[in-house]
């Protein structure tokens, strides 16, 4: 492989990683559940692209595997499983009462991304010069953005997507620094998305039946200050 091709692949990977970060910002800003899901699918495709490009660049078969598993599990199986486990109505929801308004949320997200850059660069350098690249800082940034989405959202689907975004960030950073880990990373990616979607989907359906909506934020009775609840229910 010529030096020019290598450089091209690295630049393409940087482009994919940059767009990956952009989708995470989009998820922070979007209030429509459907739009969040689409952005998440785009993000997973970019993760697969990054894995494939790095695989080509470093001639690593396992990274092709990571790309393939990502292509199959996240854009196809995750939405399918969501439709299976919870009702279609969840897609059309829009968050009305927001904890933070969109500009504030974006500003905080920006601060998190800049912070992640300063954490990620020394970390990538410590692994070795060949690991320098955008993947580690961007992966950490997206991990933090996912956690941030989780803390400010109240709608079930956006919370679920926040979790999946966190894992995507961890994987984007992981594939660049731990690319020889082998089959287990593929297995982890495959189980992870499915575990999250399956269990959350089942819970969302139960919550919907119980309280008639998927606004998880409304569930807040378990506290020390409130009188203990459950007194009028059957003992179990």
């Amino acid at each position: 492989m010529s030096a020019a091709t290598k450089l091209l692949l690295e630049n393409l990977n940087a482009l994919a990683a940059g767009l990956f970060l952009l989708t995470a910002f989009g998820i922070v800003a979007m209030r429509q559940a459907r739009a969040c899901l689409n952005l998440f699918i785009a993000q997973s495709l970019l993760l697969a692209a990054s894995a494939a490009l790095l695989g080509l660049r470093y001639d690593s078969g396992h990274l092709y595997g990571v790309a393939l598993v990502n292509l199959v599990s996240k854009p196809i199986i995750v939405p399918w499983l969501l439709r299976k486990t919870s009702s279609a109505e969840i897609y059309t929801r829009r968050e009305i009462d927001q904890v933070l308004n969109i500009p504030t949320a974006l500003l905080i997200a920006l601060a998190l991304a800049i912070g992640a850059y300063f954490v990620g660069i020394p970390l990538a350098n410590a692994v070795g010069p060949q690991f320098r690249g955008p993947n580690v800082p961007i992966g950490i940034a997206v991990l933090l953005l996912g956690a941030f989405t989780l803390t400010v959202r109240r709608e079930a689907l956006s919370l679920l997507i926040g979790l999946l975004v966190m894992e995507n960030g961890a994987f984007l950073a992981g594939i660049s620094i731990a690319r020889d880990l082998g089959m287990l990373v593929e297995l982890a990616i495959a189980t992870d998305g499915l575990v999250i979607v399956f269990i959350m989907g089942v819970l969302v359906r139960a919550v919907e039946k119980q309280i008639g909506s998927t606004a998880i934020g409304a569930l807040a009775s378990l506290k020390e200050t409130a009188p203990a609840s459950g007194t009028d229910e059957a003992p179990r």
Partner: protein, 495 residues
Amino acid sequence: MSVVVIMLLPLAAALLVCIPFGKRWLAGVTVVACAAELALVVRLALQVVAGHAPGELLDAAWSKWIAVDGLSALILVLIALVGTTAAIFSVGYMAQSNLQPKKLRLYHANYNLFIFSMLVIPVLAEPTAIWIVVELTTLCSALLVSFDNTRDALEAAWKYVVLSLMGAGVALFGFLVLFAAMHAGGGGTYTWAGLVAAAPRMPPVLMQTAFLLILIGLGTKVGLVPMHTWLPDAHSQAPSPVCALLSGIETTSILYVILRLFPVMQAVRGAHAETWALVLGLISVGTAAFLLLQVKDYKRLFAFSTVEHMGIILAAIGLGAPAADYGAMQQIVSHSVTKSFCFFAAGAALLATGTREIAAVRGLIRRSPLTGAALIFGGLAITGAPPLAVFLSEFTILKAGLAQGQYLATGLLAAFIVIAFFGVMAHLNRMVFGVSANAEAQQSHAVPHAAAAFRLPFSCRLAMILAALPVLVLGVYVPKPLHDLLTLAAAALTR
């Protein structure tokens, strides 16, 4: 018998309960499978103590995936022990709420799968594989937490799942960084043993990052304090036998994964892994001790006590003395057996009174003498009253701390333990011996139903007796094989 077969037994039980043979079949399969598992695991532990590892552990092809040492054997025995007593307790407990057969089958299938997922953790040698199994424990237990399907149970399960999975995301990155550190240090096999061997060559920055990420990520599932908020909810809303599993052994088996990092971190100069453990442990113990004072729900009381005990174990490891490591291992054992007993007693009280509210229960000893006595015994046992199991282990830890010269940390630990003792006992004392505001009125009118004694199902009584035995015995006498196992386990925490 092969380790793999031992692991597959609960999985087989989970498949067997899917055959629709009726309620007796469900309970029978779960109890028999757990008891058989306990026997096999004890045999394995004895083999480990005697130095005879089963054949495949010596086989090089398996050693990349499976490894059993003293520490793993100890955790395995505890999982099987609490799994068995909780399975027996489930029989009578679940029969009290007339469930649909389908729902009961779901309970037993999930129960066995949950036991399976926990048993696999200490046996695996590959950190990434363990991460996948930790995800599976969340998957298998979430539906048990939300089992009652009430608004509160769903809220608890939701918090449990979201926070556990958030933690898992952070821990995943930690495990990948750990692998990168190993790779940067010249490579080797990515197993616990391989990591310990490769540790001196690994870059300290990466190892510290990995350690902190894993400590925070998995610490969420253990219930360490800044990340503990889900624990009192999940550990109080689940059905009581499940609470015994969650509090008694799930927390410990996740803590086990964190403990595995300590021998690795000791190779790094100035890594301060012990200091992190000590500080985080003390914060957990202190916060839990004060939060205990203001709870309104007696199952939450025991849940906060779990946060306290996880803190004690981590702080004991943080003291950094071999004697304290031994004490921490002893504490893991005494916490598991005692906490499972406490949740059985709490479950019995819930059956007897129908409420979880502390203020609504007064004079339990008159209504149901056995339940009241069990609750007081559980409270005394879990807060470390002599001569019970927790007292002995906490005493060992404090003694080791003083011998080590860590007066401040040991003093704080002792003070928090004492505060927790009074917090728990004040609540339980009022519940069991207290006189309710309208009790005199009731006595003067001689209301018949107030005097009607509550009878606990036989299986519940049996489970409580079985769970109480080790609490009593381990306070005064540690059998030789257990002592050897604890010594081996403590040795696994240092290089």
